[in-house]
Symmetry: C2
Subunit: 327 residues, 2 copies
């Protein structure tokens, strides 16, 4: 193992999702078992003592690939030389807080973080925003990183994508590994459009197997409300499954998606599928060597086009809310 270590910055590092993700990353589940890694764990000052305990636990795992762990509440140090950034940290919604307040408050976090990535991270950095509202947070971050390509930023809809694949596997009674070409379009919000129009189960079009009624009346609301259902059952929001999706998103971005399949990634719209430019929107994407490409030429029916429009409208409205932060 003579590869120089890759430096991975993690925000919200003292939180539950990061606690699930970082041990798997250190074990090699993101970059493979031949690639040494260094972790930059970033959180706010009051979280530092508990983060120190997490760092002790990383040490106690004796991971052969883990070269270095840096803890910081300073953005310059935290994002310094980062090759990959997992942005788990976000301001959660407080009691009586409007969604617009939430978006504003998060803007104040993601602006300076985007600027620090711009100023101090690797020129080839790849950034994934998980913290909600993820799409608009990613938009703010990339706007504050003018020296980087906006294509180096993305937001996560992969958890919705994997939830969809799993539900379709159960419904069609096929192995989940055989569910391909799922697409989640739009915003990581209850408006997202989980589209099975091109999806196959062991090669058979899923739409033929499950029917339109089930798709629209059971599957779609099931995926859109899944996060709330998990919270209801666990008494806490998804942590392990969100961490898993984040690792899959970054792994496939770097190592590539399988031929003939794709993943759902929220990236800056280039106008594909008639979606307004300048918002971070979930598209079907194929990846190779840390580059993504929006899958072109899929046909959408009237219902699908309507769903995309509703997501576009929601994201344009979110952008309006933080317009002052996109200067």
């Amino acid at each position: 193992m003579t590869n120089p270590p890759k430096r991975i910055a993690i925000t919200g590092a003292a939180g539950n999702i990061a606690y699930q993700a970082m041990f798997r990353i250190a074990a090699g589940e993101f970059l493979g078992d031949q690639q040494p890694v260094a972790l930059n764990l970033i959180d706010i000052p009051p979280a530092m003592p508990s983060l120190g305990g997490t760092a002790m636990e990383l040490e106690d795992c004796a991971f052969p690939l883990l070269r270095d762990v840096l803890l910081s509440d300073d953005l310059e140090k935290g994002f310094g030389d980062a090759d990959y950034v997992f942005m788990f940290g976000a301001r959660p919604r407080g009691k009586g807080m409007e969604r617009s307040d939430l978006i504003q408050e998060n803007g104040k976090i993601f602006g300076p973080q985007g600027k620090a990535i711009n100023d101090f991270s690797s020129r080839d950095v790849r950034v994934l925003v998980i913290g909600n509202p993820a799409n608009t947070n990613a938009l703010i971050a990339l706007h504050h990183a003018p020296d980087l390509d906006p294509r180096q930023f993305s937001a996560m809809t992969r958890l919705d994508h994997e939830r969809s694949r799993s539900q379709l596997a159960a419904r069609t009674d096929q192995p989940v590994a055989n569910i391909a070409r799922m697409t989640v379009w739009g915003n990581h919000s209850p408006k997202m459009y989980p589209d099975i129009g091109y999806c196959t189960a062991s090669g058979t079009p899923v739409r033929e197997l499950v029917g339109t009624d089930w798709h629209r009346e059971e599957f779609m609301p099931g995926i859109q409300q899944r996060g709330a259902k998990v919270i209801e059952a666990r008494g806490a929001s998804s942590a392990a499954s969100a961490a898993n999706a984040a690792i899959l998103h970054m792994r496939d971005w770097v190592q590539g998606t399988p031929k003939n399949d794709w993943v759902s990634m929220s990236v800056l719209s280039d106008g594909s599928y008639g979606v307004a430019e300048g918002i971070v929107f979930s598209f079907p994407c194929q990846c190779s060597e840390s580059e993504h490409a929006i899958v072109p030429g899929l046909e959408l029916d009237a219902f699908g086009r309507e769903q995309l429009k509703a997501n576009e409208a929601e994201l344009l409205s979110e952008r309006e809310t933080i317009a002052d932060l996109l200067s």
Copy 2:
């Protein structure tokens, strides 16, 4: 992937260590990426709703290797056909509870669980007890499984082993992958003996590099008190690092330890090194194809022999406390 799935039972499944372990197990970190797995998640009735949320998250990961997840508060179903058992669950020490009360209370859990493993698990089952007091809990469990070989049961000292390797790597400034032949002897309690007598760092005897004073005055108490230090920093006990050690313990037991190296495992004493038979004691072990063998013929100095005696005495006293449960 045509291998039939291996069934893995996990107790204390709604707890924090299990939450860290099961997603890594489902991802293939225990049995590798070609072996499908099924999970039997066991906990007490009040934990079932939250465990249901965890099961939703497992589903939401769409793990290609995960074939089946069963939730149960019934020991027959829970341990039924299990090939491997991770026993994370244990009664934690309540306020004002004496250690002897704690041992007694846990005995009441591990007796029936051992019996259920005896009656319902695979005849080739391998069992790891993580829940404390792990060594004596394992002793109780194996006593209640007279139809199985006691060698199918073990308790975890692997976290102490990895903590030791990591500290020695830092002290000797060598990669942790190059720290070999560490041994933790005795009980998983502050009395444990982390012995560096045969340990090497990149081939050099560690003892020559670090000196006896550092070993006895800093390293030993550091390892013995490490768990308490993590709790102090995190405000919660080790979860991710304990889960990691449990996976390593079971993985090496099944897949084998590297040639010329060994691991620390608590197993039923066969009288090796003069340790009384009939207690579960941590020894240096080599493994191959799900069998372990205590490494023979290591020489211990007077200090080391004294440490082993103190651990033996503690474990004999623990056994005395639960003598009525070993009928």
